[in-house]
């Protein structure tokens, strides 16, 4: 269109209408309540897991180059850890001696142990512990073992002092190492932090999928509804395609954000209260390490940026896709390729949640259609260099800038097509020679 209409105020007027139309609808209210309920249930998963976990046994491989110390750890730490448990249930901890430190670590990889504890006595008499954690160990049990090492140090001091009185007690050292999990060559994450981040990662991958695909489809469905009701004829002469597309994306995006907040607030409250609830349900010894500790402000900002930019990219394409069909039943078929791309990003993000950054996952975290899923997950559970983040955001923003132009041109041509579905040639023609 050769007339150059300014973006404002029409974009905001369109956005306002779209926003009010969505948030006033019964479907919005019902879906918000359902999603909020589901989110609260998801937030309580650690409590459900805790209830199940109480009946499981954590297996710890123990090694020390001093056989006596190894035997002390196996015998006394086991007694210490298993002292409070229901008589009808199996011991929550099972400690076994390993033949070497490597063997102890390998038993984690092989699934024979959930963690490995290596204890050595320094020349000063101080005990130095290395605690290798696997993915299967719960954060609270990990913490209890950490406390247990202090108990072992006291026992060890008591027995040594009997043989060599007068030696002062020195606090043991403890190094916690994630035997599997996030590692990009830098320092591994603390396992408790890692566990918290994984819960967050799962929650946010699901949320971004909902935002990109579900809210994106709202945009497409809105365009189709305007074509079906023929009101498009009135609005396309009153506002430019660019104003309409961006206004629709903004308005529906704002409605999505409203629902998002309405879902997130109760689930965050639930996460914040889960520790108290667990204590109330299972007793003071069974507290849950709060998942929210992993939600640092820079991470929140990065999430927000990926939510907004990812939605903008997907919604613009959904708007263009919606303009090319005339009946709601054709929309699913037209939008399927984009939904498949989003699903691809979702699965890669799920893979990335294991903490690995295999070559393809690293590549996918730069690809604009996947970076909102994959890079966000890498940020959550792995370590990302600042340059990688800049590249990912830069490519995403550049792609959005190009997509605005293309989507607007497709939309301008597509909304005037009734009773026919535009072929690829028509779409290319519309992009090359805009109306």
């Amino acid at each position: 269109m050769s007339r150059s209409d300014p973006l404002m105020p029409n974009t905001l007027i369109v956005a306002r209408r779209e926003y009010l139309d969505r948030v006033r609808s019964r479907m919005f209210h019902v879906s918000t309540i359902v999603l909020a309920t589901l989110a609260v249930l998801v937030a309580f998963i650690p409590i459900f897991a805790k209830a199940v976990d109480r009946g499981t046994t954590t297996r710890v491989a123990v090694y020390s180059s001093d056989p006596q110390l190894s035997a002390t750890i196996v015998a006394n730490l086991g007694t210490f850890l298993n002292q409070q448990h229901d008589p009808g249930r199996a011991d929550p901890y099972a400690l076994t001696a390993a033949s070497s430190e490597d063997a102890a670590r390998q038993s984690i990889d092989q699934g024979a142990a959930d963690a490995a504890l290596v204890g050595e006595r320094a020349p000063t008499g101080r005990l130095d512990f290395r605690f290798y954690t696997g993915e299967g160990i719960a954060a609270d049990r990990s913490q209890l073992i950490n406390v247990g090492t202090f108990f072992i140090a006291i026992l060890d001091y008591t027995s040594l002092n009997r043989r060599a009185p007068g030696q002062a007690f020195t606090f043991p050292t403890l190094e916690t190492v994630a035997a599997s999990g996030p590692s990009t060559g830098a320092a591994p994450l603390d396992s408790a932090d890692f566990a918290g981040r994984r819960i967050l990662g799962i929650v946010f991958v699901v949320l971004i999928f909902i935002i990109l695909v579900i809210y994106g489809m709202w945009v497409a469905a809105g365009v189709v509804a305007e074509k079906t009701s023929r009101v498009m004829e009135l609005i396309i002469s009153a506002a430019s395609a660019r104003q309409l597309v961006i206004g629709k994306v903004l308005g529906i995006g704002a409605a999505g954000a409203t629902q998002y907040v309405a879902v997130l607030v109760p689930s965050l409250l639930a996460l914040g209260l889960e520790n108290r609830i667990a204590t109330a349900l299972f007793g003071p010894g069974d507290a849950i390490s709060p998942s929210l500790v992993a939600l640092a402000p820079p991470l929140v900002l990065a999430y927000g940026a990926y939510f907004v930019l990812g939605f903008a990219l997907y919604a613009l394409i959904y708007a263009a896709a919606g303009s090319l069909v005339s009946r709601p039943e054709d929309l699913q078929v037209m939008a399927l390729p984009l939904s498949l791309i989003a699903i691809g990003g979702y699965f890669q993000a799920v893979l990335a949640l294991s903490g690995g950054t295999a070559g393809f996952i690293r590549f996918a975290s730069y690809v604009p259609f996947w970076s909102p899923f994959v890079m966000m997950t890498r940020l959550t559970v792995g370590r990302v260099e600042p340059g990688e983040l800049v590249l990912s955001y830069g490519l995403l923003v550049a792609t959005i800038a190009v997509t605005v132009v293309i989507a607007t041109r497709v939309y301008a041509a597509g909304v005037l097509l009734y009773g026919q579905r535009a072929g690829l040639r028509e779409v290319v023609e519309a992009v090359r020679h805009p109306a």
């Binding site: 050769s2 209409d5 305007e226 009701s229 023929r230 004829e233 002469s237 005037l416 109306a435």
Partner: protein, 326 residues
């Protein structure tokens, strides 16, 4: 030269518009002038390019070539609020109230919300439906939705109104209301361009017309001149109990164009005296209720120019006997 400029500077001037959709030509050098402050009839058969022309004027489509000027200014340089558009494909937001959508559409044209609401209520009252303001569009009949769409097209007080088949689907009462609104807007200095197949509406309301066929204007100008330029004379006659006038074949240089219970239209060749028909009727003892010598109807001019013989398309085709028996 000066008078031409003055005329063009106050008119909507379309000059040599061409537009193709793929291999299909929609407009082929279409040109016409619609004087400011008049109601202008834009006529053509289905597919003649009327809607495409309106969309190009609005800037929704771009012409492959040609220019459009309003008041001497290229249409690309004009703000959207110059135009008001009632599309042929009608629609409203089904779940929004009428007042909300009227305010919304006016807002897109830059009208403040409170002013738009005030004017919308005033127009609804003029159309004798003030209670529609708070009703949802999907609660209204098609005809009433059409009235609301008309209001959406005029609420921002445009200089030019483009109305694509505005009377289609309306009952006679609403047609009369809409016609009255057109005339009132014309009296307020608005220029109204409307397409329709209802020739009587054009004859009753328009000062000028353009008739298009296959993307070109085949004839245009003030209606009287367009009719006179046809170079034919017509007789409209009404005889009790005889609307087929089969005896007319005995009167040389006459052709029955359109038989009708109320009026039958007869076309005369150049030089034929209309009174020959009157004399022939009297000679047969017919009881003549109406006899009128007239210019050809706009419908006849339309049929002449879009190249479809009246006797081929305005009467039913003869069905072969065997098909009929079957």
């Amino acid at each position: 030269m000066g008078s031409t400029c003055i005329l063009r500077c106050v008119s909507l001037v379309l000059d040599g518009l061409s537009k193709r959709f793929g291999q299909v030509p929609a407009l082929d050098g279409l040109s016409f002038e619609a004087p400011r402050g008049q109601i202008f009839g834009f006529l053509g058969a289905n597919g003649a390019g009327k809607t495409t022309t309106m969309r190009i004027i609005l800037g929704v489509l771009r012409a492959d070539s040609g220019t459009i000027r309003w008041g001497g200014t290229l249409h690309d340089s004009l703000p959207r609020r110059v135009w008001g558009y009632l599309p042929e494909e009608r629609g409203l937001y089904p779940r929004m109230t009428i007042l909300e959508q009227l305010v919304y559409f006016a807002g897109l044209y830059g009208v403040p919300r409170d002013q738009a609401a005030r004017e919308a209520r005033a127009w609804l009252a003029r159309f004798r439906v003030p209670e529609f303001a708070d009703r949802r569009a999907d609660e209204l009949s098609k005809g009433n939705q059409q009235k609301v769409q008309f209001l959406a097209a005029v609420l921002h007080d445009p200089e030019v109104l483009l109305m694509d088949e505005p009377f289609t689907g309306l009952d006679p009462v609403n047609v009369a209301l809409l016609r009255e609104a057109f005339l009132e807007l014309r009296d307020r200095g608005k220029t109204i361009i409307f397409s329709t197949h209802q020739m009587d509406a054009v004859e009753a309301m328009c000062e000028s017309v353009a008739i298009t066929d296959r993307g070109r204007v085949v004839v245009g100008g003030p209606i009287r001149e367009v009719k006179r330029a046809a170079g034919r004379r017509m007789v409209r006659i009404s005889i009790d109990g005889d609307h087929r006038l089969e005896w007319l074949s005995e009167v040389p240089g006459t052709r029955l164009i359109r038989p009708g219970i109320d009026r039958t239209e007869v076309e005369l060749d150049a030089g034929v005296d209309p009174e020959a028909i009157l004399a022939a009727a009297i000679a047969r003892g017919a009881h003549i209720r109406h006899f009128e010598i007239a210019d050809p109807s706009l419908e006849q001019v339309f049929i002449d120019h879009v190249g479809r013989p009246a006797d081929e398309e305005l009467t039913l085709a003869t069905v072969p006997a065997e098909d009929s028996a079957a």
